[in-house]
Symmetry: C2
């Protein structure tokens, strides 16, 4: 059950980045559940993390280590989130970092840990440590597909993207992997994404870049994707490419790198939606004519999050009253519904807040019968546009989440 | 599929209030879909309405008529919400009011119209007008059960409650009927509730009372129940009882009437939840130890609205990590999770933000296997408590909403 989720394509090496995987048998025994990234010295790393009050232990450690300075490795486990585990969970995360540090000959604080899976249970630290050492030992430049598989939980397929850009005439390679989960409100699931490139860029610039990239990709999939216990998005830049170093936003290479990173991140983010739990439809929600980005997003997220819209989408039912309801309750100040238009792809369903002249239900049915379509709202009160990607709510979503632990 | 929804009990007459029903064949032909309330002269009426930007035509007319002065009748149809219908919808609603006015010999502005059902379609006005006249003609003091049935849409059973209170030694009768709908986010469905009593009370006092009552009942079921296109809650007081008139909040009768109205409204509100679409569990979410009511409600609603909590509830799976996630992402400022405790009924599941010593999963399973239980959160940062009622998210919810129009 995934909507046009592409197979993995070629994933060329990224200079200065080695990846290894191993199986710790955390939740499943038949596949790898550990991935380790080993990064060349001088690699620059930036990260954005969940803003949940219940930040998982690895998130707390990763942000502390990232703030402390040099980063030389990432270690990721699936099957257990190491969240709501208190002081013991922090010690477990540190022990896993130490195992990577010992294997790679670096310091513990140079390792960023990440976890995804069930909440509230302790990590099997000994098994994880053993697997981590094995993963580090066999790390190589061509293990990206295995890493994309190792970080999966309820994903039905791995998600990895490679993209090459020219920065001032110099080729730069960008690889990324990501995992999703329950997609109806991804803010409560765990989203992990790791993007590595060989561009030369300062830490300050990468910090600016990651925020811009996140806001155009992972923060646009169906909600505040930044509020689960474990959500993390990391960009590593090894500096192995030949581009002139990017040291400020005004640098000519900044925009090139931004676009390259966005291409990878948007593709990963939309693949997470395509593989949303139980998803049968991939929906783009575009809100135009808003006074500012905030109100466009408010409307887009309200539509994206509405279970009634999501079930109508599942049914392929152009029950456009539900879209109007979602717009109406999205909390926009002084919204004049007489200025609101609604489209399903190219079909104008409502104009000026009521059914469009000449709209035929058959046309709406035709659009919504597709496995991908766009819901477009024209607010008629400004010039700002925002996009959010989401999926439908199916029987399968309920089954997956009702049976997740049992 | 309803969780312990009681059968209708006895509904004694409320002096000064006559009720009639009839069938207009709006959506279903085998049952009545029109209810008319005829109110004695001097009846005092208060109402609270949706705050959606897409306010349905009848809501716009009802609030205008209510503001204009004397109210002598209510007219309700199910099967069509007369929402997102523009100027034509307003004319339709006025035409329905005029039909009641003609039948009852009152003015059009003394009639409040209410509609519930599909959005975006025109009312079949001629059929509605004919039915309204028949309903008014046969209005009687003992037709409450028929009215409770006539306003149903996807409800599996009628909801009506009667309660008798003593106000300064004088008996007062309070009857109420309500209808619910999709319960996962009732703010997007249509909730209608009509409560009539024979108490003597001023319009100003009834305006105060209805707000207090709504905040303890209909605004506590699983969300901002005030933001759909049609949500309406009305209280009528005919003044036929012998109690000394209640003219201010300090009046001794004010508190008695408040408690009586709350008893009816809370019972109706929780019955709406019990009959939530596809509901198999009735869940009370109690948040204690908050600094203020707002933050308690923020946490309670985030838990109540979370599809992952709702599916775990459906499965009877004490996946308490999902509750922690919901608390974590509810947006409380500076929440120290080390002060947070979590209970399922009397079972302490988490203490200080992590799994409680001695908690056994079997105990959580035992609680969640019941068809009614309480999720209690202790925030440990204040002395305020709030309660919200909600239900689970089942396959049946998806089926109902995916097939609603087809």
């Amino acid at each position: 059950m995934a909507v046009n989720l592409p197979e993995l394509g070629p994933l060329p090496p990224v200079g200065g980045v080695r990846v290894g995987t191993a199986g710790a048998g955390i939740k499943q025994h038949e596949r790898d559940d550990i991935a380790v990234f080993l990064l060349a010295p001088e690699t620059v790393v930036a990260g954005v993390f969940t803003r949940s009050a219940f930040r998982a232990a690895p998130v707390q450690i990763a942000s502390a280590h990232l703030a402390a300075g040099e980063v030389r490795a990432l270690v990721i486990n699936s099957g257990n989130a190491n969240a709501a585990t208190g002081e013991a969970g922090l010690e477990d995360a540190r022990a896993v970092c130490q195992a990577v540090a010992d294997a790679a000959g670096i310091s513990q604080t140079a390792v960023l840990p990440f976890s995804t899976g069930v909440i509230g249970e302790r990590l099997p630290v000994d098994r994880v440590r053993n697997a981590v050492v094995r993963a580090a030992d066999q790390a190589a430049e061509n293990c990206w597909p295995a890493a994309a598989r190792a970080i999966m939980t309820t994903d039905t397929g791995p998600k990895a993207v490679s993209h090459r850009v020219q920065i001032q005439g110099c080729p730069v390679t960008i690889n990324g992997i990501a995992k999703g989960a329950g997609m109806i409100r991804p803010d409560m699931a765990t989203m992990l994404a790791f993007v590595c490139c060989d561009a030369r860029v300062t830490r300050q610039c990468l910090d600016l870049l990651i925020r811009e990239v996140a806001d155009r990709s992972f923060n646009r999939i169906s909600i505040d994707g930044d509020t689960s216990t474990n959500d993390s998005f990391v960009i590593c830049a090894s500096g192995m490419a030949d581009n002139p170093p990017i040291t400020s936003r005004e640098d000519p290479g900044y925009q090139d790198l931004l676009e390259g990173l966005c291409a990878v991140a948007v593709e990963l983010a939309t693949r997470i939606v395509r593989d949303g739990e139980g998803a049968t439809k991939f929906v783009t929600i575009r809100v135009r004519g808003g006074a500012d980005a905030e109100e466009c997003l408010q409307v887009a997220y309200t539509i994206a999050e509405s279970p009634l819209v999501k079930t109508a989408t599942f049914a392929g039912d152009p029950n456009w009253g539900r879209f109007c309801m979602a717009i109406g309750r999205s909390g926009l100040k002084d919204l004049d519904t007489r200025g609101v238009d609604l489209y399903l792809d190219d079909v104008c369903v409502a104009r000026g807040g009521l059914m469009a002249q000449g709209y035929k239900e058959a046309d709406g049915v035709r659009v919504m019968a597709q496995d991908e379509f766009e819901i477009r709202v024209e607010l008629g009160r400004g010039y700002v546009e925002e996009v959010v990607w989401t999926c439908d709510l199916s029987y399968e979503y309920v089954r997956i989440n009702a049976e997740y632990r049992t």
